[in-house]
Every structure is written in C-alpha cells, then in structure tokens.
C-alpha cells in the first residue's frame, strides 16, 4: 500500500543507492576521523583504496588466494600499514603545520602512492579483467525482499560489511576508553592533550581505522568497475569528500548520513532524469553527461550553498597552526657581486641552450624543448595562484583545456587564425576562472582546494563531452585536431624550430608579465593578504577582489599554455594532457620545485618534459663517449612511473620548505656565498682603517 503511494521507482532507487551509499559513508568517516585527529584532509585515501583493491585483485586472480586471506592481506595488513606509516613518518611531525601544507603533502602522496604500488607489486591494470568482490559469485541475485529491487550478493556484502564497520566504530566510541579518548580528541584536541591523553596514539589509531575503512571501501567498490585503474578511485574519493563535506569535515554522523544521502540522491536522480529529459528536450544533452558527474555537482553545490560550511571555515582546521612565512627569495638577498655572476651565468646558459636548440638539436630534442617551453607557460599559472596568492587550485588542467578546446572549436568552425583563437581561449579561461572562484573564494584553504577539485572533475565528466567543447564523444576518440598558427610569411606548422621560437617568445612575455604582477600592487597586495588578512583589509585591500584577479590571471595563463600545448601536439589530447589527475601532478611538480619564482615554473616544465626521456630512459649516458643507443646499461629504461613517485614524495618537504626544494637549495647556496662576499667586503673596509 505504502509502496504504491510513494512510487515503486522511488523505492527501487533508494534500495539501489544504499550499497554505494554505505561505501561512500565508510571513506567519508575516514576523512573526518583523520581530519579531526591530525588535521590532515587526506586526499590520499583514494590512492589507499586503490592499493587495497588492486592488492586484493592480485592476490585473488594472480596468486589464486582464497577470499579470506586476500581480504586479511589487503584490508587488514596493507591498508593500516600504509596509514600508520604515513602518520608516523610524515604527518605526526607536522601537527603544527598549516592545513594547506598538509593538503599539498596529501596530494603529493596521492600522486606517488599508486605509482609506487604499481612499481613494487608489479601491478598493471589489464582491460577486460574484471575485479571480483568479497563473496563468491557476487553478481548473482541474492535476495529480493520487496520484489522491487533485486540485491546482488556483492551489494549485500557492501551493505553488511560497511554497516558492521560503522557499527563497530560507533560501539568503540561509545564503550571503550580509547573511544572516549578519541571522542575527546575529535571534540577538542588541545584540551584532551592537556588532560594527559596521548594524542599521538589516538591519531595513530584514527589513521589505522580510517585506512582500513578506505581499503575496505576500495575492495567493496571494485566489482562495480570494469578494470581496476587508479583514476576511478579518485572519483570514489571525491564522492566520499562530498559525504564528509556534508558533516563540515568534522561531524561523524554528518559524514555517515552524507554518504548514504549521496548514494540515494544519485540513484534517484539517475532514475528520474531520463524521464524528465523525455518531456523536456533541452535536458537531453545533460541526460548522458550529468549522471556521471552528479557527485561533483553535489560537492560543488554543498560547498557553495551548505550554510554550515560558511560558519565552519574558521573553525575547520582543528589542529592547524600557522606556517612561518616563507623566507625571502634567494634572488632578493644576493650580494651584488653574486647577482652579477648569476646573471652572467644565466645569460650564458640560456644562450647555450638556445644555440643548441636552434642549430644543433634534432627533431626529437626540438620536440622535447618545445614541450618544456609550453608546459612552463602552463606552470606559470600555478606560480600565480599558489606561489603568489597562496591558494591551492586543482583545476588548472580544466583552464588549460578551455584554451585548447577554444582553439580547436574556433579554427574548426570559423577558420579563425590559431593565434587569435588562443588569445580568445585564454580570455574565456580567465572568465571561467573568475566565475569558479567567485562563490568559493571566501572559503579559502582546504575548502578552495576541494571546490576546485570538484570543478575539475565536473569539467572532465560533463563539459568536455559537449559537442561545443570537446566536439562530442566521437571527436574525443578520433581526434581534436588543432593547427599551428600562420603569421604573415611564417607558417609555424612547417617548421618545428619556428614553433619553438614562437613558444619561447610567448613564455618570455608571460614571464615578464608575471614578474610585473609580482612586483606591482597586485602582487604586493597578495603578499600582504598572505601574511595578515586583517591588516591588509585595514588598508583597503579587498581580499575577494585580489584573489579573483589572481584566479583570473592564473586561468588566463593556463588557457594560453593549454592552447599552445594543443598546437604543439596538433591535437588537444585531452585525456593525456588535461585530466584532473594530470593537473594534480602539475601542482605537485611545481610546488615541490619552486612555486614562487618564474625560474621555478620553467624548471618544473623542463623537469616534466625532460626527466623521463633524459634521465629515466638513460639518454644522458649517450652524451658520454662510451655509450650509444644500443649499449645502455640494463637498468634503463627505468619506468616513467618513478617520475610520479619522486616528485610526489618531494612534495612531502612542502611543510618544511614551502618555497620548494630548488628554491631552498638556491637559498642555502646563496647564503654561503653571500657570507663569503660580505666577509671580504668587511675585511676591505677594515683594511684602510688599519693603515691610517
């Protein structure tokens, strides 16, 4: 009777949404636990879920283990081991670091961990080998209590296991002394510590539990995927982030109901949207595209509209301290003589690279140098938003893609000049950047990072697929050709060398513009905002305006760089170049080298383009007399995945050296030599006095 009243479809949707909902809730709880007990918003949970799922898959299908030992290994041994290792080696030492530093480290880990696992465990995702769940014959119908929705055995296992996990967590909180201590830490970490409760142990336990939850969620969700690849687990993690955001990242019940609600909401939406689309034709393009992106829309919506979050902003960083301000740039502290030397060296070095590039380099080297140049342009966008404004943006890939797709569309449809189209694309990216930033700017810090990540995934799942952006599904596969510009007598498509020259010119212009902004009023305002927002406001600086300008400029540069990357490759190559996960790696790369200087961005561009072919493939040995292409030592080529591992792990240094490793090294070297020069100056000054 009741069934008929509220509609059979609706009930079916709720039932259908329950199993994934419990899994989202599981990771959502993990987010809240670690965030509240150690102040880390652990974006690496996606990676941890992936590792457990892949471990389970490997144990089952390659080693032929039984279900129970495979679960024990992947969920109860590997998962907590990773969590405890991270807690002990990294995050425990960073309790007083700012929430943003911890976030950058977590992003670095989420880039490094999957690659590291794949290298160590020698795991390769193979298409067509479908993962199985923790019950035999999981896809068969187990039980159909209402005759409305038949639960499969896998789904039932998801509900039961996740449910038991949540109940155990609740019971532990309610009935054990450790649970009481943890509840205390969650409520007020500092007070609990004052009361003599070992907060370290509590946070270690929280990490172990939430890592088990993440690993369990990974194993449970795996049967829903066709192939186990790490990117899918980022999507899962974003869903769990939305669940945690419902609880303002701090409420456990909020995260639980957030996860359940999300599961239900998505299922209901998926049920009804196709029908609405039948009635209202304008919904048609959304029908296929909106569904996979619903979680990101929900997450973005929650961040913008959930009133509790506005209030949570100040209180949300339970343990975070304030990072000491980044030290002065090495370049500004140099002794005049050292500055001169650096400049002479710099000019010689650039001259040498230029000479080699334009006269000696072969096709392959020109391609590498062009890639490095174009990526440097894109990375300058990170210099602006992260280096100057101190904000973490994870949607630079989307901005770059907007530039690239604009060129593709305008040239394809209106036969426009590619260079004009690139500028228009950059301008569109700037507008989109400002629009994205507008509603979430007040949030700042961790919340801004989450919101930009949501936008990046939304762009990836929906906007790219529209025919007026990515050219429709077919174009994404068959190719989104982008020509190179022709200016007067120069056809940059004819000569790779000429295109490299054009890219270098654009890089120089953008670099100069970025330096001008840094030294000008905008840059100074952003610097003032970073060190004291209240003081900056007291002299009339509008935080929102300054940050929107930073966002728009950053998006403009990213769009321009993206357009050039597309022109260089002759194709947008969206999945390879601009996916949210690729953009995450950009951020990691730039902040781990140096986010505050223009050189840092260029070095990051060079590192991205050259590290793998030159170092990992062993090409550098060919410069030595003995080696050539055929007799490289057996360890080469080293897997390109080491790139992710190396730079991802370098990001761990962010809390201690927020200026980046290169800048840190430069500063130390500068200091040493400065000391020497100044000592000599002092001697000289003293010498004539002694003579008189």
């Amino acid at each position: 009777m009741t069934l008929a009243l509220i509609g059979e479809d609706f009930v079916r949707a709720l039932l259908q949404g329950t199993p994934p909902g419990t899994v989202y809730a599981l990771i959502g709880l993990g987010f809240v636990l670690t965030y509240k007990t150690s102040g880390v918003f652990n974006l690496a949970f996606g990676a941890q879920a992936y590792i457990s799922a892949a471990m389970f898959f490997k144990a089952r299908q390659e080693w032929g283990w039984g279900i129970v030992p495979a679960v024990v290994l992947s969920v109860f041994v590997i998962a907590p081991a990773i969590g405890l290792t991270l807690e002990r080696l990294i995050f425990r030492n960073l309790r007083t670091a700012s929430a943003v530093s911890k976030l950058v480290i977590a992003i670095g880990l989420s880039v490094a961990l999957p690659a590291l696992f794949e290298l160590i465990a020698d795991y390769k995702p193979v298409a067509g080998r479908t993962p199985t769940g923790i019950v035999p014959d999981g896809s068969s119908v187990f039980y159909d209590p209402t005759g409305v929705y038949p639960f499969s055995r896998d789904e039932l296992a998801q509900i039961i296991v996740a449910g038991v996990g949540v109940i155990l967590l609740g019971a532990m909180f309610r009935f054990t002394s450790m649970g009481l201590a943890m509840r205390g830490v969650v409520e007020s970490p500092r007070m609990t510590e004052l009361a003599g409760i070992p907060a370290d142990r509590v946070s270690a336990l929280a990490w172990a539990i939430s890592s088990i939850f993440a690993g369990m969620a990974g194993v449970l969700i795996a049967p829903r995927l066709n192939t186990l690849i790490s990117n899918d687990f980022f999507t899962l993690m974003v869903l769990a982030m939305a669940a945690a955001a419902v609880g303002r990242l701090v409420s456990l019940p909020g995260a639980f109901f957030g996860g359940m609600g999300l599961g239900w909401f998505i299922a209901v939406f998926n049920t009804y949207l196709p029908r609405w689309a039948d009635d209202h034709t304008w919904l048609e393009p959304f029908k296929d595209n909106l569904t996979p992106s619903l979680p990101f829309v929900v997450l973005f919506g929650i961040l913008v509209f959930w009133p509790a979050i506005r209030r949570a902003v100040d209180a949300a960083d339970p343990l975070s301290g304030v990072d000491p301000p980044p030290p002065a740039l090495a370049a500004t502290t140099r002794h005049p003589l050292l500055t001169l030397q650096t400049r002479i060296f710099g000019v010689c070095f650039l001259g040498l690279v230029g000479w080699l590039g334009f006269t000696q380099a072969d096709v392959r080297w020109i391609a590498l140098l062009s890639t490095a140049t174009v990526l440097s342009i894109i990375y300058l966008s990170i210099t602006v938003i992260t280096g100057f404004a101190g904000q973490i943006s994870l949607c630079q890939g989307a901005f770059a893609a907007i530039g690239a797709f604009t060129v593709f569309q305008l040239v394809d449809r209106y036969d426009m000049s590619a260079l004009t189209a690139a500028l228009i694309g950059a301008a569109i990216a700037a507008v989109v950047g400002a629009i994205v930033a507008l509603p979430v700017l007040k949030l700042g810090g961790v919340w801004l990072a989450i919101a930009t990540l949501a936008f990046a995934f939304f762009f990836d799942a929906v906007i790219v697929k529209f025919s007026w952006v990515g050219g429709g599904e077919s174009a994404l596969f068959s190719g989104t050709q982008v020509p190179r510009p022709v200016i007067g007598p120069f056809d940059f498509g004819e000569s790779d060398r000429a295109f490299l020259a054009l890219a270098v010119i654009v890089l120089v212009i953008v670099s100069v513009a970025v330096i001008q902004l840094r030294e000008g009023t905008i840059g100074q305002s952003l610097r003032a905002l970073r060190s004291s927002e209240v003081a900056a406001e007291s002299i009339g600086i509008s935080p929102a305006r300054a940050r929107i300008v930073a966002f728009a400029v950053s998006a403009f540069i990213a769009g321009l760089g993206g357009a050039f990357l597309a022109m260089l490759e002759g194709d947008v190559n969206y999945p390879k170049n601009f996916s949210p996960v690729a953009a995450m790696f950009w951020l990691v790369l730039v902040v781990s080298l140096s986010a505050r200087t223009v050189e840092g961005a260029i070095q990051a561009g060079a590192a991205f383009a050259l590290f793998s072919p030159v170092i990992l493939e062993g090409s550098f040995l060919e410069w030595l007399p003995y080696f050539n292409e055929d007799n490289l030592p057996g360890i080469f080529p080293i897997s390109a995945k080491w790139r992710f591992v190396l730079f991802g792990l370098t990001a761990i240094q962010f809390a201690r050296h927020p200026e980046g490793m290169l800048e840190f090294g430069k500063r130390r070297a500068t200091q040493k030599r400065n000391d020497r020069y100044y000592a000599r100056d002092a001697e000289r000054a003293a010498a004539p006095e002694a003579a008189t």
């Binding site: 001008q516 902004l517 905008i522 003032a528 002299i539 009339g540 600086i541």
Partner: protein
C-alpha cells in the same frame, strides 16, 4: 564641530548574552576620544562592529554623514577609517618603508592591474617621498630599510600607525596601543601620536584599559561596562565619577578613597 563618526544604538548578542546594548558614541573632527571599560565590557566587540568585522544585531554606523553600516571591512578602510591592532599585525618579509608603500599604492591604486602589467606598478619617486615624510614624522626614517622582524614592539606599533596614515584617514582607531609596552614606551607613543595628529588633523578613537594613558591623551571619554555606556563626558570629570571608579576599581577601593 562636525561629527566624523556616529554610532547609533548598536546592539549585539552572542548566543543570548548581551554583549552590547544601545551603545551610541560620537567622534568629532580632529578630536581625541577614549573608550574605556574593564575586561569583558564589550570594547572589542564594539570596535569590531565599527570596523565591519562583526555585524551588529541592530544600530547604524555613520561616517562623515554617510551610513556605512553595510560596508565590508576594506571599504570602511577606503572611506577613511584607519586602525592599529592590539596584537601587532605586520606583513612579514617586508621592510618598514615597503609597509607604507603598499598602503600608499593600494590607496591610490586605480586600475592597478594594467598599471602593474606595463610596469607602472613599481613605486614612483613621489610615492616613496610621501612614505618618507610620514616615516620622518614618526621618527622612523632611520629604520626605513629595516625588516620589520628587527623592530621592537613599540616601533612596530608606530609602523602600524604609519601604514594607516598612508591611507589618509579622517579617523584613526587605536586598539589598546599600550598593550605590551612599558610606561616610558607608552608615554613616547602618546607624544608621537599627539604630534602627528597636530600635523595631520585626523580624529582619534582610542580603545584602552590603561587609564593613565587615557587620562593623559584623550579629551573626551566613553565608559563601557557590561555592554552599556555608563558614563561619558570630558576625560577628567568622567574619570572622577563614582560609577566609573566603581566599575574600574570595585567597592573596596572606592571606600578606601
């Protein structure tokens, strides 16, 4: 005299606790006014309502005849309200002169973005000169190139004053400027402030609990206790009022006196 600042019946409650009730004050042009009260009287809350950091439940703030109640913090600053901080707030990794320069350039910064791009964002000679004038006035010229980390607390307060002065305020709000300073430093600060005010002619609202500084420095006084004004008037006579002495010193001291 024209009123520079008028706050009318400002009321603020925090989860049921009446932090401010019907507080109305007025500061005239060029005047030095004090706002005092024991700890917990609502001084800081009131201050934050004036500056737009907190939104009062009711009441308005008028500044130079304009209702600025709906202005955000930075807009009030642009309208001409300068301030200093109780816990000193300076920009790290910046010299004393750079502090004033950034304020000067933000103050005059229309179309900053395009100017920055074509290189006009760098400080001009006349901007540097204006900063140096103010530094001279505050006696900080010798320290102009020092990093702010090298300054004493008293000097840091003066840098805050200088930074606020670059925005040419018509009203300067001083939030407990004596906190952390000893008697001599406080006296020196008051002397400098008086000299600067004589030169520039802005009004000062001093929020303070150091009664000696208030007695010495201000012309008129408002006294807050438990969120309400309990007295107002010329400084000397107001400080002598029994209600004020009672609020400040308690029963025992009064009977002793």
């Amino acid at each position: 005299m024209t009123a520079v600042l008028e706050s009318e019946v400002i009321t603020k409650t925090f989860s049921g606790i009446q932090a401010l009730s019907d507080v109305s004050i007025r500061v005239d042009a060029g005047e030095r006014v004090g706002l005092i009260g024991p700890n917990g009287a609502g001084k800081t809350t009131f201050f934050n309502c004036l500056l737009g950091i907190l939104a009062p439940d009711s009441g308005t703030v008028q500044f130079q005849g304009r209702d600025i109640s709906s202005y955000p913090v930075h807009k009030r600053a642009r309208a001409g309200i300068g301030r200093t901080f109780q816990r000193i707030e300076l920009f790290s990794d910046t010299s004393v002169r750079e502090h004033l320069l950034i304020a000067e350039r933000v103050h005059n910064g229309t179309g900053a973005f395009w100017k920055d791009l074509i290189g006009l964002g760098r400080p001009r000679r006349d901007e540097i000169d204006r900063c140096d004038d103010v530094l001279d006035l505050l006696g900080l010229l010798d320290l102009a190139d020092e990093p702010i980390e090298a300054l004493s607390l008293g000097q840091g307060r003066l840098v805050e004053v200088g930074r606020a002065l670059m925005t040419e305020p018509t009203l300067l709000l001083l939030d407990e400027p004596s906190s952390g300073l000893d008697r001599d430093e406080t006296t020196a600060l008051a002397t400098t402030l008086r000299a600067v005010q004589a030169e520039k002619g802005f009004a000062i609202l001093l929020v303070e609990h150091d009664v000696e500084l208030v007695a010495d420095f201000t012309e008129r006084l408002y006294v807050l206790d438990f969120g309400s004004l309990i007295a107002e008037g010329p400084t000397a006579s107001t400080l002598a009022m029994p209600a004020v002495r009672h609020a400040y010193l308690g029963n025992l001291e009064v009977s002793d006196g």
